[in-house]
Amino acid sequence: MTTFDYAPALESRTIVTIDPQYGHFINGSFTKGSNHFASINPSDETVLSHVALGSAQDIDTAVDAARVAYESVWSKLSGKERGKYLYRIARILQERAREFAVLESLDNGKPIRESRDVDVPLAAAHFFYHAGWADKLDYAGMGNSPRPHGVAGQIIPWNFPILMLSWKIAPALAAGNTVVLKPAETTSLTALLFAQVCQQAELPAGVVNIVTGDGSTGAALVDHPGIDKIAFTGSTEVGKAIARAIAPTKKKATLELGGKAANIVFEDAPIDETVEGIVNGIFFNQGHVCCAGSRLLLQEDVADEVLSKLKVRVAKIRVGNPLDKNTDLGAINSSEQLLKIRELSKSGDDEGAERWSPPCTVPEKGFWFPPTIFTGITQAHRIAREEIFGPVLSVLTFRTPQEAIEKANNTPYGLSAGIWSEKGSRILWAAQQLKAGVIWANTFNKFDPASPFGGYKESGWGREGGRHGLTAYLKDAESNNE
């Protein structure tokens, strides 16, 4: 038998220049910053750079800069002029796409194939999309001349750093707000590169401010009285804390939180494409996806066939160096996250579920977890209820469509769901019953800037993307009269 091994095809990292140390980006220029901490490459634990731990003082300076920029420049520009800046940023993101992709894979651990083909092109697409809205806000369905909130405080997660930044900054700027954004502790580098893009685009100083740091920095941002609107993507736990913190204030908020999505496979599903969709649903981005299809619900009469094909397919997943163009599954983002995945997987073992992983070797250094499937799961297992945020799939079965819906909805989350069936009427029926913000039919993890994204229940408040997402950055007619 001929073997066809793919020789290493490494994307060159010479295209990125990483400074040994970074400060914050405030009022159009970089500060020195203080209390720097290491930002490491999760695939080999080497130190990439040192980023500053933002203090309440740094946040204060940044919010002041954003306020001044809002009052003196940004709110005075016409929508058409704001749109020009957004188009310019979008084009620069495209021009520097390779640089962003390599840096994202280095800093986050995700495969270059994904950062190159998904994260960065989508980030640019969000700026293009919202650039088009900037001079058309009168048509956003919020009355004539809807007004921005003012200064938006934005906190983003580590799973899609540059993409989440664009989800936050593009609509905020299009609507006329200025922003203070805090990237995640472990993945600040592409946000800092984006700060350079703002300089390159000659965006007026203070319109975008980026303060790096940890949870304390984020808390300072949420608590700052100069913030008019909070946009947060992250865990449900932190989301709840933010909701409590802003309850007594006039701050508006959108919260994009956790999920435990059901991916439902009916007996008449297109099996081969379903298997691909299951793989894409849970192993895309190492499963570090809030809308990941982490609960697979299989109709019992096709369960064995789907599972056996799924295992054959999962055995072909290529785990390894994120910069190798043929890598499918990269590194877990941090040792902390790896511990969490291990702990929850162990609970699966302890509660009697059956664990399966294909034979695969993972690099010695860095944070790695093999693609894993748990069968023999019921609704009562912890791994069927809690968000793992890793490449771990929990498989459950059902007998009737009604039972599938009941199981799918039996979760405090409600971010996304998948339906696999060749029968259109069944897809429409199931989509009506599912309590989830995003429902994919015969596909999974597809994103588009024109499509609103957000959750039911404990998966969050509000929507991002599309016209719905834009309105979160505008005051409705009623607030306009305040």
Binding site: F4, Y6, T443
Partner: protein, 315 residues
């Protein structure tokens, strides 16, 4: 067992079997093929893939203007694709029209190519529009002239009008004519079947009826061997092996013109049917212009620079 014990030769059982196959989601199949198209095959892997691809080429000429001179030139090239480098393997077969088979066979034997089979396109290629006695005689003629492989076309009109049994019986008949020694490739002409569901059904129909290979296209209809079509056919042979323990080959033909396309096909094979199919006895690429691009790329790897196209023979 007849028809692998999966159907009993009645129309009802054939229709039931084909109906039981899962559907193909067009968007998903195309996305999977496109993703596999991003695999980056470099250095040592590329070198190996090029030689493998050369050994899988069914070097083809199927023109009204074909002459003995053209076919003998093709035969020489098939045996020694690069006369300056004996380490280049021979191609998988040469593929010609019926009346050129004996010329091709004789010339191959003459130039030391007795190991290279001649494949003949039969059964009223490319349209398949002839009566059954004509199709049978077409096949017998080719075999008598020395064809080791028969590339037959299915009756697409019958398939599209739901007369699946007619298609099935034609293949069964030609299989009988071929016997066990002559290799039977069944051309589905996927460009005329249009949907991936049809491609999957026709693939299973041909395999049940006794095909050794399922082949995408005649090369006369576009689109031909697109990556998603080949993906669906590779899934079919993989699943058929699960059911019967028999490996059926796949031959994409038409539209594969350069090394990059050929390597994409090999990646599809590797990650869909599996590495067991990476052999000329189970995977062939029907092509003409492709061979020279493979040779050019091979020289580039060997010498470190791109040579002038004048360094490869035109036929």
């Amino acid at each position: 067992m007849k028809y692998y014990g999966l159907v009993d030769g009645t129309e009802a059982s054939l229709k039931n079997f084909l109906k039981s196959l899962p559907g193909v989601d067009q968007v998903g199949a195309e996305a999977r093929a496109a993703m596999l198209g991003t695999r980056s095959i470099k250095t040592s892997s590329k070198k190996k893939a090029i030689d493998l691809a050369i050994s899988m080429v069914d070097l083809t000429t199927l023109e009204g203007a074909d002459t003995a001179g053209k076919v003998t030139a093709l035969a020489s090239k098939a045996v020694r694709p690069d006369p300056t480098d004996p380490t280049v393997p021979s191609v998988g077969a040469i593929c010609v029209y019926n009346d050129m088979v004996s010329i091709a066979r004789k010339h191959l034997d003459l130039v030391g190519g007795s190991h290279v089979p001649v494949a003949a396109v039969c059964t009223a290629f490319p349209s398949g529009r002839a009566t059954m006695p004509v199709k049978i005689q077409d096949t017998i003629d080719a075999m008598d002239a020395g064809a080791g492989e028969i590339d037959m076309v299915i009756d697409r009109g019958a398939f599209l009008s739901g007369h699946l049994m007619d298609v099935f019986e034609e293949i069964v008949k030609i299989r009988e004519v071929c016997g066990e020694k002559v290799h039977l490739k069944v051309i589905l002409e996927t460009g005329e079947l249009v949907t991936y569901d049809n491609v999957r059904k026709a693939s299973f129909l041909a395999m049940l009826a006794g095909a050794d290979f399922i082949k995408t296209s005649t090369g006369k209809v576009a689109p031909a061997a697109t990556p998603p079509v080949v993906l669906v056919m590779l899934e079919a042979v993989r699943d058929f092996y699960e059911l019967t323990n028999k490996r059926i080959g796949v031959k994409p033909a038409g539209g594969i013109r350069n090394t990059k396309d050929a390597i994409k096909q090999l990646v599809l094979v590797n990650e869909t049917a599996g590495p067991e199919w990476l052999t000329p006895s189970l995977f062939r690429i029907g092509a003409s212009a492709l061979l020279n691009d493979l040779l050019m790329q091979r020289m580039k790897i060997r010498d470190g620079y791109y040579a002038s196209p004048t360094y490869v023979t035109i036929d």
